[in-house]
């Protein structure tokens, strides 16, 4: 089997702004419920344990014409909330029975309240994660917040979220995370075999497909990609940073690749890889999810780093682990978390002698030429630098 039909399917899912896959899932059995969520992280295990389908809502990309959404936002606010509102106002999100707004920034935080005002008949919940990482303090708080999710989801789905159900769901997501990590490993080993647009589209599929189905899809892709002969190019290897919320247009990813860069790590859809290890199946499942969040989760601009000495080291680690030669900071325009974090990350990279370049994008950016040129110059300079 080749990867082409798998990627074709992912692309169809990605391009479908009407969430047809989700609708089909919901219609397949009466009483099925769907819970939407925004970046960067929600414990999808709990949604799954309530028998609901978790659906990632990532804005409208460059395909959606935003007609109403712009009337809700000033020009200096990023694009994702306005296209998300557009999706809501045009009925495309009717299939969702609720929405979760994680604590990533003030824009999404406030969007949670806008949702309550605009879509009064729908469940909308701001999901706070702790910035204190002591089990007895931040952990205790987080577990109670998780219990609120359990209670609310039981009410919406009419299904008990038992410990057993949670453990089963944790196992399913552990498996999916392992597969996604394998996909990332493959791209590190042989980036010509798993292009970044492929990886991105596969992750996008994870936003809407039932997790079991997605795991099958990743498994099939991995098997097919290993066997495929694709030419290896003389590209440089880079880590892409800053794309954790508003989505980069697919054209942007393609431009980076065409400019001579293999993306060997990134921060796309962190929810798929946020927890770094398997969540244990024995013991109390909510405590385990809490422990995973507090002590075994990734880093991004939305998460506080208590120790100044470790700030930014995750990026250095990512560079080392993936054998990258540089970092491309691609941040959405007006994205406070990404843009405020960036100078600190750049300083850490400077201290480690890792080259980088930076630019901004919007989900609906059309002009890719400047980005291609900038990425191309960066790739050339890395090659020159490593040849010297």
């Amino acid at each position: 089997m080749s990867t082409a039909p798998i990627i074709e399917r992912c692309r169809e899912i990605f391009e479908d702004l009407d969430f047809k896959v989700v609708r089909a899932w919901k219609d397949a059995e009466p009483g099925r419920k769907v819970m939407g969520y925004m970046p960067f992280y929600v414990p999808r295990e709990i949604i799954h344990a309530a028998g609901m389908l978790p659906v990632g809502v990532l804005g409208g990309g460059d395909q959606l014409e935003v007609i109403h959404g712009d009337a809700y936002y000033q020009s200096y606010i990023c694009r994702i909330p306005r296209s998300t509102i557009e999706l809501g106002l045009t009925g495309r999100l009717d299939v969702l029975d609720g929405m979760l707004f994680p604590s990533i920034c003030d824009v999404i935080r406030n969007l949670s309240g806008m949702w309550k005002l605009m879509f009064k008949d729908k469940y909308a919940h701001y999901f706070d994660v702790p910035q204190n990482f002591d089990d007895g303090v931040g952990g205790a708080f987080y577990i109670e917040e998780l219990k609120i999710l359990c209670r609310d989801f039981e009410e919406i789905s009419g299904r008990e979220v038992s410990d057993e159900a949670l453990r089963r769901s944790i196992a399913v997501y552990n498996k999916n995370r392992r597969l996604v990590n394998q996909l990332y490993d493959l791209r590190i080993r042989e980036p010509w075999k798993a292009s970044t647009t492929d990886v991105y589209l596969i992750l996008r599929a994870a936003m809407v497909l039932p997790v079991e189905e997605h795991s099958d899809l990743v498994r099939e892709y991995l098997a097919a990609a290993q066997d495929e002969e694709k030419p290896m190019r003389d590209n440089c290897r880079i880590v892409l940073c800053g794309t954790f919320c508003e989505q980069p247009p697919l054209g942007l990813l393609r431009s980076i690749e065409m400019a001579g860069c293999y993306v060997v790590d990134d921060d796309f859809m962190l929810v798929t890889r946020w927890l770094l290890d398997d969540v244990p199946l024995e013991g109390d499942p909510l405590e385990n999810l809490s422990d995973a969040y507090l002590h075994h989760s990734g880093e991004t601009a939305a998460k506080y780093v208590p120790d100044v000495k470790t700030k930014g080291l995750h990026l250095v680690e990512a560079v080392k682990r993936s054998g990258a030669e540089g970092v491309i900071f691609a941040s959405p325009s007006f994205c406070d978390p990404a843009l405020l974090d960036r100078p600190m990350l750049q300083n850490v990279l400077d201290a480690h002698g890792i080259p980088y370049t930076s630019f901004k994008y919007a989900e609906n950016s059309g002009q890719m030429q400047p980005i291609r040129e900038q990425a191309g110059t960066f790739a050339d300079s890395i090659k020159l630098w490593s040849a010297a």
């Binding site: 009337a71 809700y72 936002y73 000033q74 200096y76 606010i77 909330p81 707004f101 604590s103 990533i104 920034c105 003030d106 824009v107 935080r109 406030n110 969007l111 949670s112 309240g113 806008m114 309550k116 005002l117 605009m118 919940h125 701001y126 999901f127 706070d128 702790p130 910035q131 204190n132 002591d134 007895g136 303090v137 931040g138 205790a140 708080f141 109670e144 917040e145 601009a301 939305a302 506080y304 780093v305 208590p306 100044v308 700030k311 941040s331 325009s333 007006f334 994205c335 406070d336 978390p337 843009l339 405020l340 974090d341 960036r342 100078p343 600190m344 750049q346 300083n347 901004k360």
Partner: protein, 430 residues
């Protein structure tokens, strides 16, 4: 406020002078702190724990206040540009850039005195995501100790016991031990109680002053004047007898104005006839503060209620610091600040202000820097217009980045808004 009222309002000047002394005194203390062996804590305005910091004898530095003071003195523009030159994005909050730019320029405070390196950054993470990044950036420069106090957001419109417990636990188990260690002073809860008694007294008087604007004419401007009135209570002085005294004086002065049927004092003297009563949402612009205010008072527009004067506590809805429950009360204080409220609560509050203060409508001053305030304001405007039937208006400026204050645009907007209110009134009368 200025001294334009000399002679006719001696007592008014009392409160102004008192405030000036407080502010200058604090900057002087900051400049001398290390020389005198005192420790310095930097912290943010919303949900600050001033009373707690006083228990450890910290001198308090508030970077937001430095930024706005630099804005008022027209120094912030250069600082913002300096930070941008060093690689900070033009898209992010200008308070952060003004602060970093000031550091790059040698860290001379707005009054011309040097600001000390903080011994601790107390990251009271209330109501604004940017705070976290801001102190991470400052910490990177100073490599100093940072204590994070994570205050959860009132996403569903209430303070749950879980949120309160979380904040109390952080204060008890994390913050207090850290402050003890850094300051070398042992925590004494009775000392905290004493400060909280003072806070509650000052808060009573502040609320009285702000609510005096329910009268017609209003004796105060609750936005342009209001930013001065909140100063001591929202910053380094809440909990001190001096702040309590300031509020008692202010209350007396406003009571006298009220009894005399007078309107607010403006930088250009007594305001003329009150023609428009507005509720304002959003922080003010500092770089053109007087010019901005003038566009209102010249037209007889007075702001009778504002949300900016609630960023350091929504006291008019009943919260008071409570010495009988000190730590819980600190937690509730942090959790209850305006920008920690969800949008439905903000919409309710604004609607109530328009009604209770018999305002002609809601004006939003939308600040480019501040997503915490600004994201969702256009919806708030619609909601409040719909619920009150009163027209609203929207202007856009920035806090301390002068490039985003377009006087001509703002003035035109305001003039047409005032016209709209007048026409609506005439139609109503006809």
């Amino acid at each position: 406020m200025n001294t334009a009222t000399t002679g006719e309002a001696v007592q008014k000047e009392d409160s102004m002078w008192k405030q000036k002394e407080l502010i200058n005194g604090n900057y002087a203390r900051l400049a001398r702190a290390h020389e005198e062996g005192r420790k310095v804590a930097s912290t943010f305005v919303p949900g600050n724990l001033n009373e707690l910091l006083m228990c450890f004898d910290f001198v308090r530095n508030l970077p937001e206040i430095n930024a706005l003071q630099n804005g008022l003195r027209k120094k912030s523009g250069a600082m913002v540009r300096e930070a941008e030159k060093a690689g900070h994005s033009e898209d992010v909050c200008a308070y952060v850039k003004a602060d970093l730019g000031m550091m790059m320029q040698g860290n001379i405070g707005p009054m011309g005195e040097p600001l000390p390196k903080p011994d601790i950054l107390v990251l009271s993470y209330t109501g604004c995501f940017t705070f976290m990044k801001w102190f991470e950036l400052v910490r990177e420069q100073y490599q100093c100790e940072t204590a994070m106090l994570h205050v959860p957001y009132q996403g569903d419109g209430t303070i749950t016991p879980n949120m309160r417990d979380y904040v109390v636990k952080q204060i008890k188990e994390d913050l207090i031990p850290t402050l003890e260690r850094v300051s070398g002073v042992k925590f004494d809860i009775d000392r905290l109680r004493e400060y909280l008694v003072e806070s509650a007294k000052a808060e009573d008087d502040l609320v009285w002053v702000l609510q005096s604007a329910k009268n017609k004419p209003s004796p105060i401007d609750a936005y342009f004047g209001g930013v001065y009135y909140i100063g001591p209570a929202f910053t380094a002085f809440r909990g001190t007898p001096e702040a309590t005294d300031y509020y008692a004086t202010l209350r007396r002065e406003v009571a006298e104005r009220l009894a005399a049927g007078k309107g607010p004092i403006t930088p250009d003297g007594e305001m003329g006839e009150e023609r428009y009563r507005l509720v304002v949402e959003g922080p003010p612009n500092w770089t053109h503060f007087r010019e901005f205010w003038k566009m209102f008072h010249e037209e007889g527009a007075v702001v009778v209620a504002s949300t900016y004067t609630k960023v350091g506590g929504v006291f008019d809805f009943g919260f008071r610091h409570d010495p009988t429950n000190p730590l819980e009360s600190l937690a509730e204080y942090c959790l209850g600040c305006y920008t920690n409220l969800n949008l439905p609560t903000r919409a309710d509050m604004l609607t109530q202000y328009v009604e209770d203060y018999q305002a002609d409508g809601l004006l939003i001053n939308s600040i480019k820097s501040c997503n915490s305030f600004s994201a969702g304001q256009l919806l708030l405007l619609r909601e409040v217009e719909d619920r009150t039937g009163k027209p609203g208006a929207f202007v856009e400026t920035d806090l301390v980045d002068p490039r985003y204050f377009s006087a001509a645009n703002v003035k035109t907007r305001l003039e047409s808004y005032f016209q709209m209110i007048s026409q609506k009134r005439e139609r109503h009368a006809a």
